[in-house]
């Protein structure tokens, strides 16, 4: 360890095996109130269906062992609560704790989706207010809160487009997707029954309008656009793009993953977008939880409203709300019940905390990104020089001269106390370093990040080995991903031994 790493220091950290390795018959962690009805013989009732002994291999441990087990595991993780995640397009911002508190309230966490709607007005009011806020933020006409994540939102959006075009007589065959798009875009288009056609970005990282004009034919259903693009650059000619599409009867889908650059400053609906999704676990602060849950509401213009998935929130007489599943033209249900309600509650809590002042968050996010860009310009190669919004993309071209690539730099950043930025994406920038600080980072944290990146660039020039073999201070070093893929071990079994698993 050396003094130039200011943000992190090594500390003794607890080891912990698999919970199955701590198991011993007879240990227990939960007790029950005694049965207050007559006992029954399950074998008599279930016959051959009866699982006569407990689940084979299930752990038997005590309460303190469970608590220690998972607490120890948690200490091996980096998290927003510990420091910045400069991950581009992930918007790893502060997850406000009051959101957790309200989502757990009795009367919020406890409600059954099939309970009578007259006993669910509280839940429905929450949904309605969130809808109104999201419509105001996006400038669209209608919204569904059903989709469970961004990818599901994308699918819903494309299915809406398909239903709309089908009604016009021809669902069409192709969806245009920029080569800088997130992988969920093409994967989703295929599931929606469309073929994908790539559209190239121009030298400025924007959609090539001349190419677009050629590519938009009567066979094209939609263009899926991320704005700002995955390069963090605002797609300046969106209204023109929308017009080109609309002229040919096609629609404009906006991937709202980068909404953190736009909230309160501009509205996609005003720019000509027909349908878009939002990632509540990005812009709207709901926690990532190690990979979800999220939510991916889809906002649409009026023309798509009749096709929204069921159930649709409606207002009935007397100001009562209801979930309506009798919608003739709906694309159907995309998920059981009423969306990831607990996530929706958290997103609403976030919006209510900010109010109209949410613009300030956007401004701080863009300021932080530009501050970091300024700090690292010249230190790392900047392939696209247009103004950055909430994220900036560098490349490893300068460091590659010494054989140090973006993955190495990212791993070395771990030793400096940060989570890596997004590596190797977007695909149009070879060796990309995609950095998005979000508004939750103080000037101090941004300065520490800039210093760390500068120090690593220096190391790459002078002592590249230390970067190429990073990280050095973590519990585990670089892991054998090749072995993991060649001989997958995807579950614990009693006979698999500990570190000899390499054989």
């Amino acid at each position: 360890m050396n003094e130039k790493i200011k943000k992190a220091t090594r500390h003794t950290n607890q080891n912990e095996g698999l919970i199955f390795e701590k198991s011993s018959p007879g240990k227990r962690a939960l007790d029950w109130p005694p049965l207050d009805v007559p006992k029954v013989d399950p074998t008599k009732l279930l016959g051959e269906h009866h699982r006569t002994s407990g689940v084979e291999g299930f752990p038997e441990v005590s309460e303190i062992e469970v608590l220690r087990h998972f607490t120890r595991l948690s200490t091996w993780n980096y998290a927003i609560d510990l420091g910045m995640y400069p991950l581009g397009s992930c918007t790893m911002k502060y997850n406000p704790r009051v959101n957790e508190f309200v989502a757990r309230l009795n009367g919020i966490a406890t409600e059954h989706p099939y309970q009578p709607q007259e006993l669910s007005q509280g839940c429905l009011k929450i949904l309605r207010l969130l809808e109104k806020c999201l419509l105001e933020i996006t400038g669209m006409d209608a919204v569904t809160l059903q989709p469970a994540a961004g990818a599901q939102g994308e699918l819903t959006g494309l299915l809406l487009i398909r239903a709309y075009l089908q009604k016009q007589g021809n669902a069409r065959k192709t969806v245009l997707i920029p080569d800088s798009a997130h992988g969920t875009n093409p994967a989703t288009a295929v599931i929606a029954g469309y073929e994908v056609q790539n559209i190239k970005s121009n030298a400025d990282g924007q959609i090539d309008i001349e190419h677009l004009k050629e590519q938009v034919t009567d066979d094209v259903a939609a263009l899926m656009l991320t704005n700002p693009s995955t390069l963090g650059i605002f797609e300046q000619r969106i209204p023109e793009i929308a017009e080109i599409l609309h002229k040919k009867g096609a629609l404009l889908y906006m991937d709202g993953a980068n909404m953190n650059a736009l909230t309160g400053v501009t509205r996609p609906g005003d720019l000509g977008v027909d349908v878009m999704h939002l990632n509540l676990h990005k812009t709207f602060s709901t926690p990532h939880g190690g990979g979800g849950p999220g939510a991916g509401p889809v906002a649409v213009k009026k023309i798509l409203e009749p096709f929204l998935p069921i159930p649709v929130l409606v207002e009935r007489e007397g100001g009562k709300f209801a979930l309506d599943s009798q919608r003739k033209e709906s694309i159907g249900r995309v998920k059981a019940f009423a969306g990831n309600f607990g996530v929706l509650v958290r997103a609403l809590a976030y919006i209510l905390a900010y109010g109209p002042g949410v613009r300030q968050a956007t401004e701080d996010a863009v300021l932080n990104a530009n501050y970091i860009r300024k700090g690292l310009e010249g230190v790392y190669d900047l392939p696209y020089t247009r103004p950055s919004m909430h994220e900036v993309v560098f490349s490893d071209v300068l460091q590659k001269k010494n054989g140090v690539n973006t993955m190495d730099i990212a791993k070395r950043l771990i030793d400096y106390g940060f989570h890596p930025y997004t590596t190797a994406f977007p695909l149009i920038v070879p060796g990309a370093l995609m950095i998005e600080p979000t508004e939750s980072e103080s000037k101090e944290e941004c300065d520490l990040f800039i210093d760390a990146m500068k120090a690593i660039a220096q190391e790459a020039a002078v002592t590249p080995e230390i970067v190429k073999t990073a990280p050095h201070t973590t519990r585990v070093k670089r892991l054998d991903e090749v072995g993991a893929a060649r001989k997958p071990i995807l579950r614990w079994k009693p006979e698999v031994k500990r570190s000899e698993a390499a054989d």
């Binding site: 090749v482 893929a485 060649r486």
Partner: protein, 133 residues
């Protein structure tokens, strides 16, 4: 690694070693190097008909999947069983033990459109230049 002079090479970095109407097909050293450590190979069953230029197999590394295109048309008579258990054979010996399939050619004349070793080596030199530009 040297490129065997009796093999023919495609633009998609496959090699084909033909004797009469029986051939062996694999991917080149350049291809395996680009791909990185191979973790899994998906090969066609014996009897599958192949069309020149169309995908017939895929080779996976940890981070990418490469589609492998038939350098010539015909019928796959055998796939390399060794690659199931040791896919890394493609990395270690791409021109030999790492072969993918045996192919019964339906039109040996298609091989004339492929490159010889010298032309292929020139081709990949240019590719390497493009990459570092």
């Amino acid at each position: 690694m040297a490129y065997p002079t009796n093999y023919k090479y495609s633009k998609d970095h496959e090699w084909i070693d033909a004797k009469g109407d029986m051939a062996t097909v694999g991917i080149t050293d350049y291809a395996q190097h680009e791909l990185g450590d191979v973790v899994f190979v998906e090969l066609p069953a014996a009897g599958t008909k192949l069309t020149a230029g169309k995908q017939f197999a895929s080779v996976e590394s940890v981070k990418a999947v490469s589609e492998i295109y038939a350098p010539a048309s015909g019928e796959a008579t055998e796939s390399n069983a060794l690659l199931q258990a040791t896919p890394e054979t493609i990395n270690n010996d791409p021109h030999g033990a790492g072969w993918l399939i045996k192919l019964k050619l339906s039109n040996a004349a298609e091989l004339d459109a492929l490159m010889d070793a010298a032309a292929y080596e020139k081709y990949i030199e240019e590719k390497k230049k493009e990459a570092s530009a």
